[in-house]
Amino acid sequence: MEAERAGRGRRRWSRYPSRTFYLFVSPWVLGFALLTALPLGYALLVSFTNFNGRNSRWRWVGLRNYTELVRDADVIASLVRTLAYTAITVPLMVGGGLGLAVLLNRRLKAVGLFRTIFFLPSVVPVVAMAIMWKLIFNRDAGILNAILERVSVGPTAWLVDPNAFYALIILTLWGLGGGMVIMLAALQGVPAELEEAAVVDGASRWHVFRHVTVPMISPVIFFQVVTGIIASFQIVIQPLLLAESNQVGSVALVPQSTHLYMVQVYEEFFNNNRYGYGSAMLWVFFVVILAITLVVLRSSRLWVHYQVDSEGER
């Protein structure tokens, strides 16, 4: 629709290309203002109140929510769990993705088939993913315990404390094919001459990988690590769905060990109706994400080169 208008007043618009530009990007600018900036600003406002979601008589409480949450043992514990989850999954995801990519970056038969099989889980909707893994982890009927029984390990309850944490990690790792595809593309972007030259100079395959290949794809690895960290911090649906629940979106039965930071936020909002407190938690989270993002944007200039910018800028 904005395109049509631009077309009608074409002479005037082309003399003021700035306006045409704004016309075209306006959907995103408005969307950003209304659906990102406004909710975030609203959450900031609410974070200074005791709003409970229903009652309109909310009161300004200043920084009380923030001072409470830094002392809240539940919040701290959930944060520690989230950090542990991140520290375990991110290296495994990135390393696993790279490992699979290296395996598949050779001339092997049926390489495409393997790539498809490894990539497939990363497009499975989260609800289906949770159902599938609950079937596997099921204490009595699950296949994991059936297999473990063959090697005479007694039935293990995977979806309760403390094992639920590992179950969550396994579910996450199942989706590492997305990272693999990215790594594969990065590996294929490494000029073959470079690696071959190193081989000619007498370097072992490991040395070539470590000192030629990895540095060449380091921007991609770096980017994967950063997005991986952000993705792990926001995990909430997986713990919710892995838990036995009796209603949509209930956190009541989420085991302690998978009660991560965002699960805690979710609980404050939708179980405890503490919108103010939950908003404060969201903002703490936002500042952390913002800090990570800024560091990335700054450092990406050192790592990375935008090739298309000059063309786009014409």
Partner: protein, 297 residues
């Protein structure tokens, strides 16, 4: 983004093939295949177990020790899964929302991507930086306050949030289109401008048709986002108006309120198979989408 190549590094001499490694290489290949096959079983296993569970009777499912194969495959579980809950209604909601969002967001993202790739404007660079940063922003962060806000203005339990999200363009898809449009030679557009063609028509009649592969990628990705989304419908929609993802996760219950696992597995199979089929036929589009997020280039 492309990897920075050190210009100071001397040109590399053409490599001669490394000899004397043949036998070891063959043994390596066998080892690699064994490893790949083991991994393939691990990655494909959950799909197989889902289908097997969907084919078992209720008593068979709870039998200890667990049996791998169902004695008498219960294909009826699939038809029962369709009638046990109002499957078709939820399916309709899922299809409607996914289609609506995918169409809107693809078009709006294409327009915004065109703006960033082809047009000049004050503050374009900082705006683009903001756009890139929002790609990093976790969805859940804005979703919860959006829910609180929308609840206050009566937009909860309507499909309007999806319309708004669709119209607002997705930073990720904007980036996808922007990269594509930026790589198109300028002559095309210059000729059109000389002929007196406005930017609206240049976009609709020249750039949009050219970007068909990106349009397909964008549509498929955004469609599967909504199809697979759980948290937004769980928050924004009542059980009667919700999507298949929420319905499957919680609505399969036996009369005692316990999960009806075999029917749920059957329903989950019906829910996930379309995604897998689309994926298998359009794999390259998905890969294009994933790549633009990770390598950007």
């Amino acid at each position: 983004m492309t990897i920075v190549r050190d210009p100071a590094r001397p040109a590399i001499k053409p490599a001669s093939p490394a000899p004397a490694r043949r036998p070891r290489r063959r043994a390596n290949a066998v080892g690699t295949y064994l490893l790949l096959m083991t991994l393939a079983v691990l990655f494909a296993g959950p799909f197989a177990w889902l289908v097997l569970a969907a084919l078992k009777t209720k008593t068979e499912w709870v039998t200890i020790p667990a049996k791998i194969l169902p004695e008498d495959p219960q294909w009826g579980n699939f038809t029962q899964a369709l009638t046990e809950i109002n499957f078709t209604a939820y399916l309709g909601n899922s299809l409607f929302l996914s289609f609506l969002y995918a169409v809107l967001v693809t078009f709006s993202s294409a327009a915004v991507g065109f703006g960033f790739a082809r047009l000049r404007g004050r503050g374009k660079r900082p705006l683009f930086m903001v756009l890139l940063s929002t790609m990093m922003l976790p969805q859940i962060l804005t979703l919860i306050p959006t829910y609180v806000l929308f609840a206050r203005v009566g937009l909860v339990n309507t499909y309007w949030p999806w319309v708004l999200w669709g119209l607002a363009a997705s930073p990720y898809l904007v980036f996808l289109f922007r990269q594509f449009f930026a790589a198109i030679p300028a002559e095309l557009e210059d000729a059109a401008v000389i002929d007196g063609c406005g930017y609206g028509r240049i976009f609709l009649q020249i750039f949009l048709p050219l970007s068909r592969p990106v349009l397909v990628t964008s549509f498929l990705l955004s469609f599967t986002w909504i199809w697979g989304d759980y948290i937004a419908p769980a928050l924004f929609l009542d059980p009667d108006h919700t999507t298949l993802s929420v319905a499957i996760s919680a609505f399969y219950r036996d009369p005692h309120g316990n999960p009806d696992t075999t029917l749920q597995a059957a329903a989950a199979t019906l829910y996930v198979v379309p995604v897998l089929v689309i994926f298998l036929f359009a794999q390259r589009y998905f890969i294009r989408g994933v790549l633009s997020s990770g390598v950007k280039g």
